[in-house]
Symmetry: C2
Subunit: 338 residues, 2 copies
Amino acid sequence: MDYEVFELGDVRLQGGATLRAAKLAYQTYGELNADRSNAIVYPTWYSGQHYDNEWLIGEGMALDPSRYFIIVPNMLGNGLSSSPSNTPAPHDRARFPHVTMYDNVRLQHRLITERFGIERLELVTGWSMGAGQTYQWALSYPEVVRRILPFCGAAKTSVHNIVFLEGVKAALTADAQWRNGWYESQPTTGLRAMARVYAGWGFSQEFYRQRAYESAPLDYGSLEDFLVGFWEALFLKRDANNLLAMLWTWQNADLGATPGWSGIESALAGIRAASVIVPAQQDLYFPPEDNEWEVARIPGAELRVIPGAWGHFAGAGMNPVDTAFIDGALRELLAREV
Amino acid sequence: MDYEVFELGDVRLQGGATLRAAKLAYQTYGELNADRSNAIVYPTWYSGQHYDNEWLIGEGMALDPSRYFIIVPNMLGNGLSSSPSNTPAPHDRARFPHVTMYDNVRLQHRLITERFGIERLELVTGWSMGAGQTYQWALSYPEVVRRILPFCGAAKTSVHNIVFLEGVKAALTADAQWRNGWYESQPTTGLRAMARVYAGWGFSQEFYRQRAYESAPLDYGSLEDFLVGFWEALFLKRDANNLLAMLWTWQNADLGATPGWSGIESALAGIRAASVIVPAQQDLYFPPEDNEWEVARIPGAELRVIPGAWGHFAGAGMNPVDTAFIDGALRELLAREV
């Protein structure tokens, strides 16, 4: 097992349910220094697991493990932390409780304080739903978080984004083998269908216009080869109930629903961290316009748009040009005295 | 029955199959004048039937039935013309042959010449797949078509558009009740799933950001009300095999594959009609960029972009502002001496 598990005991969730014997799986990169001042938290994204984040961590990069102690906590529902697929009855599978961004971050805060004794974070960053957790960190723990750099995500899931996810969910659950979550084996027809729905959203019209999937770094032989080899492969690796649990978290993400805050505008205004918000220019479900709206409300926040055709998957670590852009923005933010 | 049917006999299709006892359902508006010089053809769109086109026809509008003889031919596969749902065995249901845009327009040309003796058309216009048929008319019958105004469509289906449709198709066919087309009753779970996939594509991010579905002219009570009352209702009216037959036509639309032509660029250059191409600014699957590319290749063509947030459904006749824009463009084109 290439990761650690932090046992949280029974956890009361934001929605009122109790997550019993909750587990937070995580991996760390680098060493925590003596005064515990070099820590970074980098949460995972929809369906991703800690190793899917490693492309942004490396010697000579902004997230340099020879300099920083980088903690990658796995999101609840992702199959490694507490999830429908690994929770015992009666809270297993279709009965796994609803988890919010707020819940995820509260447990991650327990990890860094109770296990590591960390009181300050140099940075929180993450892609997509990882970005959602990043905003939540800044609002929930303003005394802890110095800097945030959410990329290709939002503080509150937009209505259009919710609709996109309705399509993904409907495609998965149209497979009768799903059986309302009580399947014996994975509903693979539904998983493949959701993959094909996702394919049109993950990359931009321009990406497909260029047939960028046919050239390096992707280098698939044809469109169908890309749909099967990349998209279907991505979701066939996952558990259907886990995907639906995380999808609920995503659709219901709302920084403005954080206890003690009333609405998204005041919540954004309450962020105290140095904030660089990084959308991708042609992202179809986290469009830059939504981040512009946020940046106008977060004190001192800066917007930096990843140019190019990769859309949402500019933040997935597959395109070296986009990776260099994100790494550069991280480097500059980390160099900033705050 | 509020429409007529033109019997075409056995028809050899572009792909090599034979459509037996082919039927073209159509409706006309206005009167053909004595010298047969006032005819307009206005084909239908994906899943639409002739009455779905009537919003653009009316006294005082560009398509004025007191002045023009407007023929609305139903696209093959739409349930009124020859379709999986109405063709006898052995060519019924899942065995209905593949039909192209070229096939559709060839049969429509037989309708106007054989039934009506029309040799010239003042205009061909249409929305979405109706736009696809419009380009085809101009290329297949340059001596016939004086003017074209395709709106929210393209001469060749883009790769991204093909991927969007893959998601729609996968959602519909994930329902086991579909049974590879040999269902006893409609696969309603799949039809509802495809509707939810479609919902994110049909209108723009900005449309949903404004919650435009909650105000006039749509006036739904909530997002879920819109998803069920508008989107699911739209597809539950249809037959699954019909939808899949038309989807094949759409995915394989390519003006450049017209017999006698080699590729999309030369085909566009071969259009002789006065051409006004009308995309919607925020259309997510027929984006204006694709039409810009076309306009640069069609001799003398003009681009007119429908502004606003309605995306693809700017061309559906539900938003008075967009309807006025399209009507105005039609009026100006019809007034042009060609």
